[in-house]
Amino acid sequence: MKTRFINISVFSIIVVISLIFTMPAPLPAADTIKLGVAGSHSGDLASYGIPTVRAAELVARDINARGGILGKKVELLVEDDVCKPEVATNTATKLASKGVHVVLGHICSGATKSAIGIYKEARIIVLSPSATNTELTQSGKYPNFYRTIGYDRNQARLAVDFAIKRLGLKKIAILHDKGDYGKGFAENAKKYISDSKQANVVLFEGVTPGAVDYSAVVQKVRQSGTDAVIYGGYHPEAATIVSQMRKKNMKTLFISDDGVKDNTFIKVAGRYAEGVYATSHKDTSKNPLAIAAIAAHKKTYGTEPGAFFLNGYAGAQALLYAIKNAGSTDYEKVRKALRSHNVETPLGKIKFDNKGDAVGVGFSMYQVQRGVYVEVK
């Protein structure tokens, strides 16, 4: 009898506790400008999402110190989506129900694609610092989406133009990392090369990130007799491929994308990085705002900022200043402000076109010369 009573009470306590946990959190204090920051903040892609969070924190701190926007403080609502589409929908719903005004995110194209519909219905403007999937702006389906990074097609076009016109290459091999970003870049590059009819795609292959050995693919590249490799993907695999190629005395040129234009690439590939080309946003190293932002990051967090930091910084500024320029958080007014007003950011003076891409954020080609990425004019 006694055990039964104890067991029942334990059971009920558990039920009560779980009910408490499911109680919705009380709504936050009113009257702030709520900036949602969504992205991969934990897990294996965290290093792509955390710099944007820090950028938002720095921008918010800065603006709040100067009185906020329209007299109200900026409040950050940071939510993690681990770059998974199904989690991203949850994240979006959560942010929407918490009443965010604008969202900086998501980080991965896949996550953004699944969440954007929810934001669209809730009439929340979304600005991504890193989602490069062409469709997001060019399809016209998502009028609430903006971004402070160029999209896949443009990057590929620049790389292909450079390879064919500047370098005069005739035979090109294309490799990618089978991921959304890398494969997108690679496929666009393939299309442009075949369209141009001035060069041939001699090889189109995907490499498996994390494989035990890359020699087979490198062998294939050599076998194809190509002049250059265009690679879509991120710096870890690129570093490995370039090193292996150079170790086998291959002089093949290597052209890649924004994911490789990273100082980490140079550090990892060491002397093999020399001569590698990569596209990226226009040079910001002399931009005073960029220098200041990077310095602020170093001072607050103690390290160099990571991927997409400047894009995130510019994005946060663009969103918040658009609200200021619009004079309200009204959806249509802010959209109009994003299109009509220029904002000074670390990426330059930018505003957005009708489709949501940033004007003034273009791509340039860089090359590793004497251990540093230098813009190729």
Partner: protein, 300 residues
Amino acid sequence: MDFFSELCVGGLTRGSIYALIALGYTMVYGIIELINFAHGEIYMIGAFTALIMASVLTMSGMSGISVLILAAVVAVIYSAAYGFTVEKVAYRPLRQAPRLSPLISAIGMSIFLQNYVLIAQTSDFLPFPNLLPELEFLEPYTSFIGSTEFIIIVTTAVIMVLLTILIKFTRMGKAMRATAQDRDMAMLVGVNANRVISNTFIIGSSLAAIGGVLIASHIGRINFYIGFIAGIKAFTAAVLGGIGSIPGAVLGALVLGFTESFGTGYVSSDYEDVFAFVLLILILIFKPSGLLGHTTSQKV
């Protein structure tokens, strides 16, 4: 011809690495009939430990071959320790439990170790310095076999020989074979089963650690996830060759290595990972206990 021989070398290299890890799987399975899912993570931890040690040593001013030897030794010690601990904590309490329990425990342990390293270190790919020395006598052949590949293949071969000697000619090896054959009987004749099992884990983990150090030098970078992929492939290799059989594990690993290398070279690298599994399914359909496995008759 060149292409072919390069692919051969690539296949041998892959096969060697898979063999080092597969041996751990097959030995553990032979002795306690458990798929040690966490084994891949031991390999990863070996690589990480070597990286950490190497960096500390390099920054304190050491360089050259001594860094390699020291880092490898430390990695082996630590991997062995992890293997031993995992067995004691997660598998020993479940010796008598139905088959599914230790399997789930192993999966849980694998997830735990992955995230343990992820949180304690970083999610980034950390570059691994190439600790292996450049061998001059290979200079003329660098276009088709590099120093690292050569060292990997030779090291693996040496280890195979040592392991065979251990299993066949030492007392410990005999105890291991006895326990694998019939644990209760082995205990009756005085073998300390627990000790033997722990030793199996220790040896298997050490091999995996060596594999980790080698591959990290070869590829040049590591991250917390490499254990999972390598683990699955190596396990597939072990099953391919007949799980529980040591020569089977090596054979399976080589077969897998060559299949992948040639498949990638002549067909396509898109489906690289698929080759492993398709091969496995084919072999298991025609020879359900693997290439060198014994068909155990089920007693009713």
